[in-house]
Symmetry: C2
């Protein structure tokens, strides 16, 4: 029963998790492209296994600790998708010597040279992808640019291909806009791979990824793999983008009502920003969901109720736009659930998932953190 | 050496920590009022011990896990400063039976009744303070109100006093404004204690707290204890309020340079929001510090350089307001430090502090989380 849990607690609806995983797998199977889920969202082996066809991977990671943890649980095909620095090579080299294929990424001749040198010191060869900047949001070289060719040359036999992340897809106002971003993402890596191949590089890996573009791309022609993370849980930012329905969100935070401010129309809970994270990702969307959409204990959204503000261990729940509440529905000690803006950020505030199965809290699944 | 650390890593400057602790202790000693530091900021025993005169407390906590952890390390005088709900009483009752004095807070007759009932089931008496709302920001009853007297009556022999938290002090534009908020905070609890005493309640505890008001209050007349947390580390929000200098900030995140976007004037690091938190507390201040002020590896701020944006594991460092950079100063793999907006939020993203002593990384101090 939920009543036996200490609040705040992180709940994970197993049926929704499995449905989200199945949909993405089926979609990418139909397109004939490989899924390489990003395990940074859940940082949990059970979730990754449900997302995959094979227990050995392929997976994408964002920290060396993720690489080590998943390696310890049998995963062998690991893409470390953050620009590599020499100080991280030793730990990845240890995995490589243990039988993992750990692929790294770089986006400059300087970083490529530093990688090669560190690998030589370790006596391993870590293959690398060149990161392509498809939308000006983060890292990467310009598609099919001279800089790309220079980095490819610097990598030499370590070069495995190209990758990009369409961060711009998070800012789109329509599915058409996401589709356009996805096509730009695809073109950026496909033209880059062609440019490298024309210079004699094999370039077998052409990798794209983001949950919105993975969901809406019209074509993956020339792409070999798709990375996506947040789709396993979904969240309010994804719902705001039309990537999922609010009902698809598998993650929620269980909180207890600790007080009422009747004149203000506020219910105070013990789920503050420590439980939800400080992520306000829906603030830039058409509907600002505050710190999250408030649901009853069964997970059904309560009309117009959002978490409008947060202290470290206090949540303030009110009607969107103000107005009075039926306080009788929220006695002291009663339970509510809050759907998160950003599943990756909210999950990171917790050490375990409590699995919701048949309407009750079942197993606890560990979630690790750190680097 | 910092070069031996895996980045991102959370650094804690021991000299600044001790100086911050000493200043607050001396200030409150001079005012003759007891300091009850809030251990939610650091969630670490060594830090709390440096903040205190006595190894047994008094401390303020925001989670039951904090209460349990500090009890296990010898602390006995513990205020749990979040509205109490019956489901949390069993764990606190266990501490009480073990010899702790655990004080709780409530702000309604309903919560007071639920607390008393749960305590009777456990066979303990947990003393309680009534929370007073001194500025309309969160929980609490109106100062010296009928509701206060009703809650006091409902608590009966469990009533120990009153407490408030001047959250409004975080929004002040000047130290004069903070001083005015502090006086309102003091008045709110002192008049409330008087109202309870006139009804025959002893009301020995009169508790106020927030780092800004603790720093600037002109008077603590009638107040018995001051709660404050973030002052042990200080942060950019506090510096923006004039509570400290940027040079007093004891906490920073060590990151590695992983790339450059030369045309945009960006340095990309491996310290993203997972390392800094999503807290953007300076966004509402006169100077928006982005995700943090960027320093060299020795901790000296680099003129005008801030972390302007963040992905989960990517930080984007640029000049405030744009402009070019001396990229030669930031080779791939080189180290930078970032001062946080909000120390409580940034520390919560990490499992340990690396102590900076004599300019080098020394011991690791564990930081716990969860509820």
């Amino acid at each position: 029963m939920f009543e036996d849990l200490q609040t705040p607690a992180l709940l994970l609806d197993e049926v929704k998790l499995d449905r989200n995983c199945r949909r993405m797998r089926e979609r990418l199977h139909a397109h004939g492209v490989m899924l390489r889920p990003h395990v940074k969202t859940a940082k949990n082996v059970e979730v990754a296994q449900r997302a995959l066809d094979s227990p050995a991977g392929p997976i994408t990671v964002s920290t060396v600790r993720e690489a080590e943890h998943f390696f310890d649980h049998g995963f062998r095909d690991i893409l470390y998708a953050v620009g590599m620095v020499p100080a991280k090579v030793a730990r990845l080299a240890a995995l490589s010597r243990g039988g993992a294929r750990v692929t790294t990424i770089v986006d400059s001749v300087e970083a490529a040279g530093a990688l090669i040198e560190a690998c030589e010191r370790e006596g391993v060869l870590l293959p690398a992808l060149v990161e392509i900047d498809s939308d000006g949001h983060r890292a990467g070289v310009a598609p099919a640019s001279q800089q790309l060719l220079d980095v490819g040359e610097a990598l030499g036999p370590a070069l495995r291909g190209v990758m990009t992340h369409a961060g711009d897809s998070y800012n789109c106002a329509s599915t058409e806009a996401i589709r356009a971003v996805a096509e730009r993402e695809r073109e950026a890596v496909v033209t880059s791979a062609q440019a490298l191949r024309q210079k004699g590089h094999a370039c077998p890996v052409v990798s794209v990824g983001s949950t919105p573009t993975a969901t809406f791309a019209a074509s993956f022609a020339g792409v070999t793999e798709v990375r996506a993370g947040v789709y396993v849980f979904q969240d309010l930012v994804m719902a705001g983008l039309g990537v999922c329905e609010v009902d698809d969100i598998a993650l929620s935070v269980l909180g207890s009502v600790i007080g009422h401010q009747r004149e203000k129309g506020w219910v105070i809970t013990d789920a503050g920003w420590m439980a939800m994270s400080r992520d306000r990702g829906t603030a830039r969307q058409r509907i600002d969901q505050g710190y999250g959409v408030v649901c009853d204990v069964a997970g059904e959204p309560i009309e117009d109720l959002v978490m409008v503000d947060a202290n470290q261990e206090h949540g303030i729940v009110a009607r969107r736009g103000g107005g009075t509440l039926d306080f009788g529905r929220f006695p002291i000690g009663s339970l509510i659930r809050v759907l998160p803006n950003h599943a990756c950020a909210t999950a990171a505030q917790h050490g375990e998932y409590r699995i919701v199965r048949d309407g009750r809290a079942a197993d606890a699944w560990e979630r690790f953190g750190g680097w």
